[in-house]
Amino acid sequence: MNAPATERFVVPIGPQHPALKEPGHFEFTVEGETVVDATVRLGYAHRGIEKGAEGRNWTQTLYLIERICGICSHIHSTAYAVGVEQLAEVEVPARAQAIREIICELERVHSHLLWLGVAAHDAGFDTLFMYTWRDRETVMDILETMSGNRVHYSANVLGGVKFDLTDESAVAILKGVEFLEERTHHYRKVVSEDAFFLQRTRGVGTMTHAEALALGVVGPTARASGVARDVRLDAPYVAYADFPARIQLLTAGDLEARFLARLDELLDSFRLIRVLVAGLPAGELTAKRMPRKLKPGEVISRVEAPRGELFYYIRSTGGEQPDRVKVRTPTLCNMGSVITQTIGHNLADVPMILVGIDPCFSCNDRAVTVRRAGDDNGRAWAWADLRRYGIDYYRRIRN
């Protein structure tokens, strides 16, 4: 049946949908094949971690924070640990910082490979999905050799790291990195030369430099549009001042550029891991003493997660527990760009555009209230208020 092209349909996607590995709900208004409007509804994975952190002590919170995201768990705990150590004025040994950086980069490798596979799957290129996931097991093995776990490595403790880099794991890392580097060159070739794949990526979801700046996107999504923004260079944390990363910039701003930006980052990560393993400073793994209670104060901690800038605000009132932990994740910054990019594209391109920002809903789903400066000082929200607000909000954006 041919509906007239002017007729509009709303296509709901999610929260359970084959193209989504995580719960999120999207409504795309289509005119024929073309998307003319899009709304997103998030919050299915909102667990209340920030509030939960206030009921746990500094150390317990570290392990809760790690479980914000299973893909980039180390970077979350690093951001938190770096912030808390700054509050406690604890000096972390150089060796511990370098080991943190190794794990950060290994995590980036695993996250980008995972993403490449999932993105290929969404493009209907399952062969690439299977190959990347097979190769990704190499880096999972390395992480397991080092930490004993595949997903939540728990590398960080407050004031240092939990395990050392043994000779055995150094050998495993170098061997694994060599194999993965070769494979990544191959994938780069596939992504930039395969004619069918390019039809799904080249010129799709293009975001210009100006748009990227206006939308405030972060991470590889921004760097693929030529925005030179990388916390590892702008504000080096852990050992990034001594072992700097190199920024990977592209200007095209389309999906192809986002693929290439991440693959280039992989290659740079391999280089960085080699440099780190070779030049690992000697020394202790943890600081001498980490106080149980922290002085009153507040701190901001920024790190570069695989998906972009991750921002933590931590406040202490002098107790054993944090008074406030605020997390702003890269997906939240990038999500707005999906909504604007999809408009004007075919519905079939929507999953690819969504996956192009490497969305992570479990990171993303947190409560945000935006207040104008000079408004009232805020108020406590009871469960009934939140519910009321949610119903009103979604009724409003629907109309």
Binding site: P23, A45, G48, K51, G52, G55, R67, G70, S73, S362
Partner: protein, 189 residues
Amino acid sequence: MDTITTQSPPRWRTMLDRLRNWSLANSPWLVHYNSGSCNGCDIEILATLTPRYDLERLGVKLQGSPRHADVLVCTGPVTRQSADRLRRIYDQMPEPKFVVAVGACSISGGAFRGCYNILGGVDEVIPVDVYVPGCAPRPEAIIHGVAVLLKKLQPDRAEEIDRLLVEAGAVVGEEEGIDEPNAELLGAR
């Protein structure tokens, strides 16, 4: 579970159930729902289906629609937002249906237990047949969980499934042995 063992059912019913169990146990189709997970278990489920572990060799297939699925694989604690959806997905699945809860969170709420938006484990909302503990459970543990379910459905194929498990590397061979209490712990209710 009542569709599998009914009290003195008519003969045709028994036959039909046996046929249904046979086809289901040979090729269970999974549908996956993340009800608030951190993604850790989700990526391990995907890893289970990709070449290293390749759960498809047991006839298992992950697909999109709950209406085509036999087994619902749940990850994560149940958040207040997703509880409704989880129940709806379960209701949409045709009988007989089974639920595998993967990860510590889906068993009890895990690290998030006590957070304001968490209802608890998956069994707060829907009945669960197999629990797979771990944070996140290794792919081997997930394979084992699925195998426990398959063995329960088809006890006479138990040996064959065990052999496949050893081949898949999910269980170390007899000589090293998987402890009985452990197997029970991983096992069904």
